[in-house]
């Protein structure tokens, strides 16, 4: 094995561009591993741990670009390195194409574009808080996609924002929709009169997409970042967002999506909900229904239910009727599960959930708990062996243990595709549960990349069942209807939401185990 590397001083590229170059390089002849990263201490550690080291690497720093190739032969490694450099040059050229000057810094951009009203920040966490504070000081709202921002910085930013009538979405806010414009990882959702506040990214994507799929639309969907509802942050953004939606004439109904907020935060949210003067639906994953009801919101137990109830309210329809029709559909899904269980894999016992959406894995664990015993998951604490499932296992492949130095599984399917095949080869796997997340920022060809893997699984002798749901809309660049058709054709079992996919997969397993017993 040959390793060659190169340091390019003072050249900076965003992390997604670098990952795409690494991925493209990885497909070249003889290349076993490829890295294109800024030479931060953390990235250098990752390179070292994957055996990618070369003499100049140690002296390189945060502002230097490191390119490393591991290949079968020296010549292949050198070729690949050259190609990687070419790809980067091409990226830079397309980025600056058209001749228009792009500001080199936030102050430069603020100078030339004083009419901007939102600064979207997705640079490395250690620089992001400084940029966010500069934006706030200039009177701009902030969406902070970056993560790894210290809690005290988050509090300082949000306190400053609250004092100055500004909104800080994030840190670690993956998605938002403001006035019909999708921000970061967001779906193409029609404009409407349902406003959203969400402390969970894929939760916001699921509810807003389902609202669209049910024929209604979203006024604004405001992300807060997952830590906002913790005691320390006190729901500063959540409360500011509720106030904004209260004042927004386009918003008639409000839907809230979150893990269970800290009690003192929930109390404040409750006060704001009761003061809102608009109907509010809330799904607080893991919270008991009575607590939610006490806060003044109409409780929903799943993301899907929240969407259905919000849509009913938006149509001035009966909420209970919406609940009833969802239950009726659940019964149909259960019937389908019984049929699938009848032809299920002989040796199969367990459910294996492989998720790229963090909220989906959380919702899955909560919904499965009443159905199945001994569920292993990295949702709340790390798995003892993250790469190998045991019993019922629900894996959030977007967890830090999987994403360090790699593209997110919503963008790069290679890790999950390998894992799907691993699970299918395990005779104890009875069902595999998947989420597919569409929208801007996500993988642009999910059907083409996932269908062959599902087909391979379904063509095995006595295969496990593959249940999937697609979070997104037909208007997304990937087109939900097309993706569903491709995956169904490959042999996957489609469910209209994560909750229904979980119920179906859970019922299949429950049924199998009952038959065994």
């Amino acid at each position: 094995m040959h390793i060659v590397g190169k340091i390019i001083r003072g050249k900076y590229f965003d992390s997604v561009s670098l990952m795409l170059v690494a991925r493209e390089t990885l497909g070249l002849p003889g290349v076993k591993d490829a890295a294109a990263v800024m030479a931060t201490d953390e990235n250098k550690r990752i390179l070292k741990s994957s055996g990618m080291e070369w003499p100049e690497l140690a002296a390189a720093g945060d502002t230097d670009l490191a390119l490393g190739i591991k290949a079968d032969s020296e010549a292949e490694a050198v070729d690949a390195l050259e190609k990687a450099e070419e790809l980067l040059v091409k990226k830079k050229e397309t980025a600056t194409d058209g001749g228009a000057f792009q500001p080199r810094s936030l102050p430069g951009a603020l100078n030339e574009h004083s009419d901007a009203n939102l600064v979207l920040i997705s640079i490395a966490g250690k620089y992001a808080a400084d940029e966010a504070m500069q934006a706030l000081r200039a009177g701009k709202h902030v969406m902070l996609f970056s993560d790894n921002i210290p809690l005290e910085d988050e509090i300082a930013l949000k306190t400053y924002a609250a004092e100055n009538g500004l909104l800080v979405m994030g840190p670690d806010c993956g998605t938002a929709i403001i006035g019909g414009i999708p921000l970061a990882f967001a779906n193409v959702v029609r404009r409407g009169s349902i406003g959203m506040v969400a402390a969970s990214g894929t939760g916001l994507q699921e509810v807003s997409s389902l609202i669209h799929n049910l024929g209604r639309g979203v006024s604004h969907a405001i992300g807060t970042g997952g830590r906002d509802i913790k005691k320390e942050v006190g729901g500063l953004t959540f409360l500011a967002a509720l106030q904004a939606l209260k004042e927004d004439p386009d918003t008639r109904v409000v839907a809230l999506v979150s893990k269970t907020p800290a009690p003192e935060v929930l109390e404040k949210i409750g006060a704001a909900v009761r003061d809102l003067g608009k109907p509010v639906v809330a799904v607080f994953l893991g919270a008991d229904v009575e607590t939610v009801r006490a806060s003044g919101a109409i409780p929903a137990t799943t993301l899907e239910e929240a969407a259905h109830l919000a849509v009913a309210l938006d149509q001035d329809a009966d909420v209970e009727a919406a609940r009833t029709s969802l239950h009726a559909r659940a019964t149909d899904l259960a019937k389908q599960a019984v049929e699938l269980a009848a032809t299920a894999r002989q040796s199969g016992k367990y459910l294996r959930g492989l998720f790229c959406g963090g909220t989906f894995s959380q919702e899955t664990v909560f919904l499965l708990q009443p159905l199945l015993k001994d569920i292993r998951s990295n949702v709340s604490e790390p798995l003892s062996n993250p790469d190998k499932s045991e019993g019922h296992t629900i894996v959030d492949l977007g967890g830090d243990e999987f994403t360090a130095g790699r593209p997110h599984p919503m963008i790069d399917y290679s890790l999950r595709n390998r894992r799907i095949l691993d699970e299918a080869r395990d005779p104890e796997t009875a069902a595999i549960l998947l989420d597919v997340v569409l929208g801007y920022g996500s993988n642009m060809t999910p059907g083409e990349e996932l269908a062959p893997v599902i087909r391979e699984v379904c063509e095995m002798d006595d295969p496990p069942v593959v249940v999937f749901h697609v979070c997104g809309t037909d208007d997304d660049p990937q087109a939900r209807d097309r993706v569903i058709a491709l995956l169904k054709e490959a042999g996957g079992v489609y469910a209209p939401s994560n909750a229904s996919a979980v119920m179906m997969a859970g019922k299949i397993i429950e049924r199998i185990n009952r038959e065994d017993a």
């Binding site: 900076y12 945060d62 009203n117 600064v119 009538g165």
Partner: protein, 467 residues
């Protein structure tokens, strides 16, 4: 806050570029920032700089004001020994920060050998080199003697120099006469024809120019530079317009002052044949203007940026005479036939004083004729100048760029902005062969290294205790 929900969204996107695509595809506006990480400085310095941000801003405004007020005028000429403060017989001035013989690059050594031969201290290059290596002579930066020199920038005692006075503040700056391109002393060549040309410049060119300048009563360099920018010069790598304008201002007095028509013709022909003649006037014009901005406590404005072919050094208005040093980098250049980057010496010369004063690379948008140095399109040249506004204290009131609707050039480099934004100054430059005695091999551009700016900001932070 409700204004976010009620107004059309216009996003500034700092980071992942594809996010901007989604925003635009949905009918929103997104401005991409070509962000890069800040240069790494100590946390202690960073905190102190932030705590004193207002003080620094005020000091920089004062420094820029001094620079803007500068009125450099070519007053006359003299011999280095007579007019340059602190000049001595066996002292050789050079470009860049201080350096010893053992660390001097090839072209610097070559120029030193040539200067020793020129002064007649030695008869052969071998003897000159031995004397230099033995420590027979003193070396000092031009900058420490109110002077600047292009490339190696070597000034010896009997060389004639221009005298530029900053009429607003009374301070002076000095620079030798430009020898032309190719095999010349400032690029490290020292062959007999090089020395012969220098002697002609001393014995024929100098007396004629001296008499003409004195008779003219002084030539206003600031106004020539302002006009040259409108005629396609940035007065560092292109000086064709400046040289022409200078000649136009000079000729009437030259013809009156020089009795021998043959001599007058030779002088006019020499200047006319050397497009870079004006460089040795634009440089001291900047030097005289910038020196007036020295000694302003708390200012992070750069007052000197200079390279000796080994090190790249800067000085700040707020840090006295201290040099902050980093490695000189090899420029990206277009090379003369037969040469390549392997032959190039790292960046050398005091000529980055033009960028320090808001000209040269900072004004490249004014010089479409030389865009082949920066990627080939006029748009590239505009973008380089636009980028430099990011690190400038302000915009020039006198030097303006037609292609930018007569916007003033980015002027006064703020070292704090350089560090915080990770953007280093962009410099136009000639390229010398790395070996002594060869001369120029190309011309191009180079970005300043970050290290001197990091050290300078840390140095400035250390002075902020007293406030």
């Amino acid at each position: 806050m409700s204004n976010l929900l009620s107004q059309p969204l216009k996003v500034i996107n700092v980071g992942i570029e594809s996010f901007g695509d989604g925003i635009r595809a949905s009918g929103g506006q997104s401005v991409q920032v070509q962000w890069r990480p800040p240069a790494p400085i100590s946390a202690q310095a960073r905190d102190k700089i932030r705590a004193h941000a207002d003080r620094i801003t005020a000091a920089n405004a004062e420094a820029l004001d001094k620079l803007q007020q500068g009125k450099p005028v070519l007053k006359g000429m003299g011999v280095a020994l007579d007019v340059i403060p602190g000049m001595k017989k066996e002292l050789f001035l050079h470009a860049g920060p201080p350096i010893t013989w053992d660390r001097m690059c090839g072209p610097m050594r070559g120029a030193m050998i040539g200067a020793v031969l020129y002064e007649g201290y030695a008869d052969t290059p071998e003897v000159a080199e031995k004397q230099l290596a033995d420590g027979k002579y003193g070396f000092a930066p031009c900058h420490e003697h109110s002077s600047v020199g292009p490339m190696a920038g070597v000034v010896s005692a009997s060389m004639p120099v221009f005298i530029i006075e900053n009429e607003s503040f009374g301070n002076r700056a000095f620079c030798t006469q430009n020898e032309g391109l190719g095999k010349v002393l400032r690029y490290g060549a020292y062959s007999p024809d090089v020395i012969k040309r220098l002697k002609w410049m001393e014995q024929t060119l100098y007396p004629a120019l001296k008499a003409a300048i004195e008779l003219s009563g002084g030539i206003d360099l600031k106004s020539i530079i302002a006009q040259a920018l409108h005629m396609g010069d940035e007065v560092h790598n292109r000086n064709r317009a400046g040289t022409s304008l200078f000649l136009r201002a000079l000729v009437p007095s030259l013809v009156r002052a020089v009795e021998d028509r043959q001599v007058a013709a030779e002088v006019i022909e020499f200047i006319n044949g050397n497009d870079h003649f004006f460089l040795n006037l634009s440089m001291p014009a900047c030097k005289a203007s910038l020196d007036a901005a020295r000694g302003i406590e708390g200012s992070s404005m750069v007052v000197a940026m200079a390279r000796n072919g080994t090190d790249f050094g800067i000085q700040l208005a707020g840090t006295g005479d201290v040099w902050f040093i980093g490695p000189a980098l090899v420029p990206d250049a277009l090379f003369f036939a037969g040469y390549s980057k392997d032959d190039a010496n790292p960046d050398i010369g005091d000529s980055a004083i033009t960028e320090t004063g808001g000209l040269g690379g900072f004004a490249i948008a004014a010089a479409p004729a030389i865009v082949q140095f920066v990627g080939g399109s006029a748009g590239d040249a505009l973008n380089y100048t636009l980028e430099m506004y990011e690190i400038a204290v302000g915009e020039n009131e006198m030097y303006r760029i037609p292609a930018l609707d007569f916007r003033g050039t980015p002027t006064g480099i703020d070292a704090v902005k350089v560090v915080e934004k990770g953007i280093t100054p962009f410099i136009d430059t000639g390229v010398a062969h790395k070996n002594a005695g060869v001369g120029q091999v190309g011309a191009g551009v180079v970005s300043a290294p970050p290290e001197p700016f990091v050290k300078a900001v840390e140095g400035l932070a250390a002075t902020l205790v007293e406030f």
